[in-house]
């Protein structure tokens, strides 16, 4: 059975249609990148995956069951900003999910339990290359290191689905390349199912296994909100030629201009 199934999904806000007639299914272990112009429903889609928004029509299924309408531990998330907790050190940020699980009332652990959680957290922090920054607070870390920490924090919980919301949008190009390698590496090792939102087409083109382009097939220049976006391209990554990239770029740019106007 597919991990995620989308059946005739619509999202509308009053008269504005954001997404219409979405149909897709994603197998376990796939790495889907979602690209598109801003305003084309990428973030709305992510919010529905998280559970902070619910579909207007249609179904969004995780392992055959509708996604709960509030966030929970089946779906991990890394945001572009504010992803780690500023009042905890790197180590405490990664230990947090374990502490929350083993102490439902206090949320704090002590003694041998705490030592065990520390061990696991240390391993996780090493795998993202943060073993030099264990006792540092997030504000003492660079942007790239903060995102590494956010990944470690989300992954130690072993979520069914990992959602990435433009996680590298604020990083320098060099750092961004390192982060791509890190994400691909973690994805392979931990058998993750990943959805990554990005507005960088090139990033979407070579990261992961599958790329979705959210775009408006029908575009009314006078009233761009009257038609919603759909998945206009669903491409396996690696098999796409230059011509496809160009035609996607053209179409996405046209939509972006219409929405921006």
């Amino acid at each position: 059975m597919a991990a995620i199934e989308i059946k005739n999904l619509w999202k509308e806000y009053g008269k504005d249609v954001v997404l219409e007639r979405l149909n897709a299914s994603v197998e376990e272990g796939e790495f889907v990148t979602v690209v598109g112009a801003s305003g084309c429903g990428k973030t709305t889609f992510l919010k529905m995956m998280l559970g902070t928004e619910s579909p207007t029509r249609g179904e969004l299924l995780l392992d055959g069951k509708p996604i709960p309408d509030e966030p929970d531990e089946t779906r991990g998330i890394v945001f572009q900003r504010y992803s780690v907790l500023p009042h905890l050190t790197a180590m405490e940020n990664v230990m947090l999910s374990g502490e929350l699980e083993s102490s439902r009332w206090l949320g704090w652990t002590f003694g041998h339990r705490r030592r065990a959680l520390r061990e696991q957290a240390l391993e996780m922090l090493e795998s993202v290359g943060l073993n030099q920054a264990l006792g540092k607070y997030p504000h003492e870390l660079s942007g790239g290191m903060q995102q590494r920490l956010a990944l470690a924090q989300a992954l130690i919980k072993k979520p069914r689905i990992l959602l990435l919301d433009e996680p590298f949008g604020a990083l320098d190009p060099g750092i961004r390349r390192d982060m791509h390698e890190l994400v691909l590496d973690l994805w392979r090792k931990q058998d993750l199912t990943v959805f990554m939102i990005t507005h960088d087409l090139a990033e979407g083109f070579f990261l992961g296994t599958r790329m979705w382009v959210f775009d408006k097939e029908r575009l009314d220049p006078q009233d761009p909100a009257s038609y919603g976006a759909r998945i206009t391209y669903d491409l396996p990554v690696g098999n796409s030629d230059k011509g496809t990239l160009q035609s996607i770029t053209r179409s996405v740019d046209t939509t972006a201009r219409a929405l921006g106007a």
Binding site: R75, L106, K157
Partner: protein, 271 residues
């Protein structure tokens, strides 16, 4: 020559410029006091420095003839106790209610309008009610401080709790936290340094309410003393008392600031 708007004071210049108004005020006072005492040696309005020294000696370092206590010390302890209890209880109420209304929309809907309404009541206007209900003892004075600053603390902390980025609340849920854990591990720790700065802001009003209550009904306390000696135009006592109150206010503020920097480095580092 740079434009005035672009000119900055150096480290020495900043100190000198900062001290200058104090020096000018002190000189002005001495000149005026001298002139008045020249005209009338019994003038009480602007006492000379020697009268201040006498008054301080009498109030602070000699036991009172009537009670055998050191007056300044007894007054200070009485006032600080009232202030401390009042501010502590207000801070606790502010913390609990502020977190509840800031983090939980259902509580906010129920409690916020009431708090907003209460915060508009001028506390001094209900001081007579407090004296009637709680008598003229310690309780009424502490209650005035609590009623005076708690609504402000609640509203401020509620706002600070609402300002916690939604991303972090979502993040906590994806890490498996329930509502209570989100409060104990996210909202409460992040609110604590903000509580300290709200308390620092409210201390000015707390002193105001304390002195007002002491002026009306008390048998000791800093506010009681200055209103008592006012009857004798004893500026030589009033001015040192005012300076002492100012110093206490400054010392408490400074201590809270230092404590916050030491205890919550992430809060001050991130700003």
């Amino acid at each position: 020559m740079k434009k005035l708007i672009n000119r900055q004071a150096g480290p020495v210049g900043r100190w000198a410029l900062g001290l200058l108004p104090f020096v000018i005020l002190a000189v002005l006072y001495l000149v005026a006091s001298d002139a008045r005492l020249d005209a009338n040696p019994n003038d009480k309005l602007l006492p000379a420095l020697s009268s201040f020294a006498d008054a301080i000696e009498r109030m602070a370092f000699e036991p009172s003839k009537r009670s055998g206590e050191y007056t300044l010390l007894a007054d200070t302890l009485a006032s600080l106790q009232r202030l401390g209890i009042g501010v502590l209880i207000s801070a606790l109420i502010g913390l609990v209610v502020g977190i509840a209304t800031g983090a939980l929309p259902l509580f906010r809907a129920g409690i916020s309008p009431l708090v907003t309404g209460m915060s508009l009541v001028p506390p001094l206007a209900i001081l007579p009610i407090l004296f009637i209900v709680f008598g003229l003892g310690e309780l009424a004075k502490v209650m005035l401080i609590i009623i005076g600053i708690t609504p402000f603390l609640i509203r401020d902390l509620q706002q600070r709790a609402e300002e916690i980025p939604t991303e972090q609340i979502i993040k906590m849920q994806t890490l498996g936290a329930n509502t209570w854990q989100i409060i104990t591990r996210l909202v409460w720790p992040q609110i604590m340094p903000r509580l300290l700065s709200s308390v620092r802001l409210s201390l000015g009003s707390a002193w105001l309410f304390l002195i007002a209550a002491e002026a009306i009904a008390a048998t000791e306390g800093l506010g009681y003393r200055i209103f008592l000696v006012r009857r004798y135009l004893a500026m030589d006592v009033i001015l040192p008392y005012v300076a002492w109150i100012t110093f206490l206010a400054f010392a408490i503020d400074f201590a809270l600031k230092r404590y916050s920097r030491w205890r919550y480095p992430w809060f001050h580092g991130a700003q």
